[in-house]
Every structure is written in structure tokens, then in C-alpha cells.
Amino acid sequence: MAEPIVGIDLGTTNSLVAYMQGDSPVVIPGEDGLNLVPSVVALDENNQVIVGNDARRYLIETPERAVYSVKRLMGRGVEDILEELKLFPFRLADDLQSGEVIRIKLGAKTFTPPEISAFILRQLKRNAERFFGGPVTKAVITVPAYFNDAQRQATKDAGRIAGLNVLRLVNEPTAASLAYGLDKKKNGIVAVYDLGGGTFDISILKLHDGIFEVIATNGDTHLGGDDIDNLLIAIALDDIRGDLGLEFGNEVRRSGEAVARIRQAVIEAKIVLSSQPTAKLDVDLPDGKKYQREISLEVFEQMIQPIIDRTVGPCKQALKDARLKPEQIDEIVLVGGSTRIPKVRRLVQDLFQRVPHTDLNPDEVVALGAAVQANILGGGSDITKEMLLLDVTPLSLGIEVAGGVTDKIILRNSTIPASATQYYTTQVDGQTNVAIHVLQGERELARDCRSLARFDLKGVPPMPAGLPRIEVKFLIDANGILRVSAREQRSGKEAEIDVQPTYGLTDEQVENMLLASFDYAEEDFRQRQVIEARREADTILTALAKGKKNQAWQELTNDERRNVETLEKALVAVKDGDDHHAIRGGIDALNEATMRLAELMMDTAVSTALKGKAMDDTDLEEGPQAGHPVAKAEFK
């Protein structure tokens, strides 16, 4: 079998890996049998990385060693995330410089968001490798449709750091439509409403004989279930200040553990309210105090209204861009865990005047669609060979021109791959350098758009202003990632860059992180082997110490005793080193040398037993041949 290509949904709250099994995509479960891997990363006391369900308890027990919702930080700078820092317990590295890629503290170490995402991807990769019994190195990863170039680059970097060749980044709602359209095989206009843990996307697609053509997309990369949780936490903290006093309330607010408990309780209440009319909050607070409250569905819906209303604008804009009226939409597909909230479903129904589809599992459909796309890229199978995805760029791309104005070169909702060329000239006589500032966004002024990259076209021969003819060429690939080149046509002077995001990692940094992650993984594995070998050595040395007190020791020849003692010293000497091969070698040698001692002890034990002596005193189980079971080191 050729190496499988997997589809990965790298979500804000949960991540999944799926692949195409025959004609249908299926999710690959983790070792715990669960499909969802929570996007939580923690470092344990031995600085071992823990991912997923096992990492969740660290959020409460040692919140300073755990991180969640890191997707919110992908491809962003410190100044971009000031709002997030108020709401999320992200701990930034102390020595962070302005303009540098963010680093998050986990215990005493710091990691960039792509590295943390890479830990999650590595876990999914391991799950898939365990499932297939072989290496998995190729993947399709999904991103929110409204992710900008920097956020896409950061996701691709995360894949590379995890040792994955990312064949394609696919937009989440588009992936969902692939999973949806796979068995429907219907032509028509479909809208995908995707409200996840941290991001919102709306995409409108035209399905035509297996072609999935995105007509328009819109969204908000900072809107999702997290915002509902944060609102409920804020309300709870207000309540606590009101009920238990301002001072105590502030103390709770500062306690990472208490806030983490409240967060867990409001998430549970939110889930209950999707099927029950009321939910109870019951949280243990410091000093034996408690926070208790009952929330009715009605109150909950009032509270979240302003948040879910923020999805309306993007939906209307997408319809407008697609030049469609709501009634022209044939089907609505719901994606993302937050679409389980009944109020969200009613909002979608009112907006599109149509009952949305709820037959697909909103948590899994994106990963399943990624698996379909992975299959297509792998050459396709009978069921996918007619399928083709035509996606769009969510945001306009351009450059800054004189006066700080954005000149758009590729407009939003252009089908990708897309290219465009614009011509510019100089402003000053004899100008030899031209600054190209690449921008993404819809606003008129450069300072209101996202700055993607800056580079200089150097060495333009001095000419009067207005004479040079500078050609700027944009090319967006099928991943939605931009490449820019600039050329002065009269002189042929050229400059080309793969847009290096202003807040992105350089290729070199990614390479180093990739190597470090290999080291890190190997280091983990090696350290684990050392620890286990040491444990085994301790066992055999303890047993030998007891054996020496046994009369069987005296029955050995002088040479035998000397040999055993030499090997014992040798093992003690290597035991505290960190070469597990040496330790193992010492254990094996000592084991062999003490073979006769063990036999003799066994005989003694039997004869002692015959004499009616209690087995306990004979140290039978503690003999050199009967070491404690030691867990086999597993490749982690």
C-alpha cells in the first residue's frame, strides 16, 4: 500500500485526523479510543509534552504549564493580541521583543504558536501511524477560510515542524462541503455556516457535477465558542465579587486554578443548555467557598445574543459578494461545535429562511472533508475522481502606494490560483530603491490593512520621476499563499519573495524548530530509556544486596564472588550516567554472573520451605532473576 495521505482538522478546541477508507472518510481514533484530540498542550514536571485529553487536567492543576486555544495566536504579533491577553490565560515569554514571533511560556520553557500546534499535529501523526502501522508524512490540513496569509503560513510551518509534508491547506467550510457533497451528489447552491471554538466562517458554494466552486466567503477569525465561555466567566466573576466580596472576587480572578475551574463549569453548563432548559453551576473556590448558580436557557440566550449576532454581518456580506438572495441558497450546512446551540440554529434558519442540515457531526465533518481532499490529491479513487475544489482568496491583496493608500491587486473572492500584474512608477527623480509593502484587507488606507511583508526593489537605474515602469506581480497558489515579484522593466532589475509574514518564522527558523523537535522527540525517547534502565539496575542491585546475605552467597567460589562484585561495581558506575546501552549491558552481565547464585538461592528456598520455614524470609521474589516488570520504552 502506498503511504497514506491523511486529512487533519487542526481546531481551536479539538483536532482530528481522518483518512479515506474505501469510499468513505473515517476519523482515526487516538489510543484512548476517542476521535477528538483536545487542542491542549501541557508540559509535565519532567518537561515531557502532554497533548489532548491527558493534558486537560493540567489546565486546572498547573495552569502555568498548559495552554489551550493557541490557534488564536497563529500568525499574529504581540500588538495584535492585546485583547486576547485580557481574556485568555496566555503567558508570554518575558524577553519578548516587539515585532518578534510570539512565544508562550509552558513551565520554564517557551514555544511559538506554530511549535505548540506542531505538538498537536505530532500527536495526530502518531495516532495515524499507530493505526496504519507505518509512517505517515503527508497531510492536508484545514484552516479557517478567513485566515490571512500570515495565519496560513504559520499553519504550514506547524506542519513542517511536526515532520509533515503539508500537501495542501484547505479552507474548513470548503472541506465540510466536500464531506457533505460526497454522498449527496446534488447540484445547487450550498452555504456552509461554520462556528467553531475560535473562528467563524461563512462560505457560499456552487456544486456542479462534482465541481465545488466557492463563490464567496467571509468570516471572523476571532469569534467562536471561546467568546461565549469568556463572557460566562466574566459574568461568574462579577457574581462572585457581588456575593462574596470584592476582595475575594479579585483573589479568584488572579487564581489561575479558580478561573480554570469556572471555565470548565461554564463550558459544561453551555453544553447542558443545548438540550436542557436549565443548567447548574457549582464551582469550588479557594478557602472552601463555593460559587453556585442556576442559568435558564432564556437568560443564556439573552447573554449570548450579541456574540452570535456578530455572525450576521459576514453572512450578509458573503451573500452580497455572491450576488445572491437568501432564498437562492438551496442548502445550509452547519459546521463547528457551537452550531449545536439551538439559538445559533434559529439564527441561521431566520437568516437563510431555510432549515439547516444537522445530519453531519459538526465536530468531525471538516476532518472528513480534509480526508476527501487528501484522497483527491493522492490521485483520487472512483468516488472522488470527478471531484474538484475551486476555492477563493478571502481577502483582497495589494500594495501600499504613495500617500499611504492601499492599491488592491487581487480582489477578495477571486478563484485561486490567481495572479495579477500592476504597473507602478517612481515619485522622486533619480529614485533607485522602491519599497514594496504587501497588504491584505479591504480597507482604503494601508495602515488599516494587514501588513504581510515589506521588501525593496533595489538598483533601479536613476531616472526622472515617472519614467521607470515597475511591474508588480502577485501569484496566489492553491493554498491561498501569496508570492510577490517586482521588476523594473526598462532595466530588467528584479526582486522576488515568497511573502515572509511580518510576524512569521523564517525558513531557517522553521528548519531549526523541525530539527529541534526531532532532537526533542529523540531526547524524550532516550531519556525515557535511561530512566527505565536505571530503574531495572536498581532492582537488580537491591536483589543482589539481599542475595549476599543469603547463605547461597557463601556457596559460590571465590572467583564467582569476585566476578559478581566487579560487575556490580561496574553497573553502579554506569548507572548514573545517561547511556542506557551501557546500563543495559551492565545489567545483562550481572544477570548472567548471578545466575548460579539465583539457582542456589532457589534450592535453599525450596529446602527451607520443606523445613517449614516461611517463604517470606527467603527473598525468593527478590532474587536477581526476578526483577520487577519494567514497562517497555515506547516511541513517543
Binding site: 465541481i211 474538484l388 485561486i416
Partner: protein, 244 residues
């Protein structure tokens, strides 16, 4: 023509050597390195403006199936690069040709009419000769625009004061409707020029008389586009004032 060197007018396929289309080989189906062709040629269409958009879409889908990078997931780097370049050109061509205004503008540029420069020149020429001024308010709109701008100013003032005047909104609504009608009329005027252009293309005559006839058609199209731009900007102003 097998064996023909690449770079000629009808180059041969790099893979099997037979003559090929501009994007993929009609014999072996392999993607080809891009050649600079105009968007009409890319689709195999004549340079005409009345275009069957359903056929355009069919061709777009058919070419997408052959050129899109997804189809080249397992191909060599070189073919993947060509596929990226070819499919981006396909998408650009489709985006331009399916929209009636973009299609017209593209044809004008293709025929050597620099849209902005031309309109600037046209304005200067008009100023010099006293003919119709293309950049200025179209004369038939003069009165309407004057009134509308007053209403819009009033609306902005009222919004600032937090007042609400239904009669004013109704006036503006009426004006907007009239502008949209005008927009439709201009599109029809443009389409009439399309037909004249297409007829001239069919005749394929290169004598000087026809050439200058064709130039006149292009100029008239430019004039319609300029007027339409003016109307469209007004509609945008109205919408902005209403929404703000």
C-alpha cells in the same frame, strides 16, 4: 506538426511531440508551459463581446479539470509549476470574461485603448473642441445629480443631528431607483455597441475604412463605460449615505 521547435506559433508538446493547444496537449493530455495569449484565445473564443456565459462556464469547468493543481498532486515539480501558472491564468481569464464590464474593459485594453489615459485625453480633446466632456457630469444627468447631492448633504446633516425625515429618504430612494434604471439603460447601450463590434470582427476586413469604424466603436464603448462609472459611483455614494 510533430517535431516542431517550441517557441514557434504552434509549438509541440514537450512530452509526446505532437501539436498542442495552448494549455494541454490534445494528444497525450499533458499540461504545457504557459504561452502569452489573450484571454479570448485561451478559451478558444473569437475576440467578440457577445459571449455565451453558459458555454464559458462549461469550458471553465472542463479546463479546470485538466489544469488545476489538485490534478497534479502526484506529478513532477515542473508540471506542478506549469499547472499553477496555467490554472491561475484560467481563473483570471474566466473572472474577466464572465463579467460584461470587465470583458469590455479588457477588450478595449487589448485593442490598445488605455482606459485612464484615453479618458484623460478625451477630456482634454473635448475641452478643446467643445464636444461632450467624458469626465464631467453627463449632460442628461446634470439636474438630477445636482438635486441628489443636495439631498445627500441634507441626509448627512440630519443623521449627525439624529433626526429622521421619511420624505427625504423617499426622495433619495426615488433618485436611487432612477440611477439604477439609468445603469440598466447604459448596459443596453453598451450591448448595442458589442453587436456592432462583433459584426466588424466577423467581417475581418483590414481596409482603412473598417479600421476607423472599429476605432469609433471602441471610443463609443469607452464613452458608455465612463458614463456608467459615473452613475455607479453615485449609487455607491447614495448607499454609503443611507447605511452610515
Amino acid at each position: 506538426m510533430p517535431g516542431q521547435a517550441p517557441g514557434d506559433a504552434t509549438p509541440s508538446c514537450w512530452s509526446c511531440g505532437t501539436m498542442r493547444a495552448v494549455h494541454f496537449c490534445s494528444s497525450c493530455g499533458k499540461v504545457q508551459p504557459p504561452v502569452p495569449v489573450d484571454y479570448f484565445t485561451f478559451f478558444g473564443f473569437p475576440r467578440k463581446l457577445n459571449l455565451d456565459t453558459a458555454e464559458l462556464e462549461r469550458e471553465f469547468y472542463a479546463l479546470s479539470r485538466r489544469l488545476h493543481p489538485d490534478v497534479f498532486g502526484q506529478a513532477e515539480t515542473q508540471e506542478r509549476t506549469w499547472s499553477l501558472e496555467q490554472s491561475s491564468m484560467l481563473n483570471d481569464a474566466y473572472r474577466t470574461l464572465k463579467d460584461p464590464i470587465k470583458r469590455t474593459e479588457y477588450l478595449l485594453r487589448l485593442e490598445g485603448v488605455e482606459l485612464e489615459e484615453q479618458s484623460k485625453q478625451a477630456t482634454e480633446k473635448a475641452r478643446a473642441t467643445g464636444e461632450l466632456k467624458k469626465q464631467a457630469v453627463p449632460p442628461d444627468l446634470l439636474e438630477e445629480v445636482f438635486e441628489l447631492n443636495m439631498h445627500l448633504e441634507e441626509l448627512r446633516m440630519q443623521k449627525k443631528m439624529g433626526e429622521d425625515d421619511p420624505a427625504l429618504l423617499e426622495e433619495i430612494g426615488k433618485a436611487k431607483l432612477s440611477l439604477e434604471e439609468k445603469n440598466g439603460a447604459l448596459l443596453n447601450e453598451l450591448k448595442a455597441e458589442w453587436s456592432k463590434w462583433d459584426k466588424a470582427v466577423e467581417e475581418r476586413s483590414e481596409d482603412n475604412g473598417t479600421k476607423s469604424d472599429r476605432r469609433k466603436i471602441l471610443d463609443r464603448m469607452l464613452d458608455v463605460l465612463n458614463r456608467r462609472n459615473y452613475v455607479r459611483n453615485l449609487v455607491r455614494d447614495v448607499n454609503e449615505a443611507l447605511e452610515s
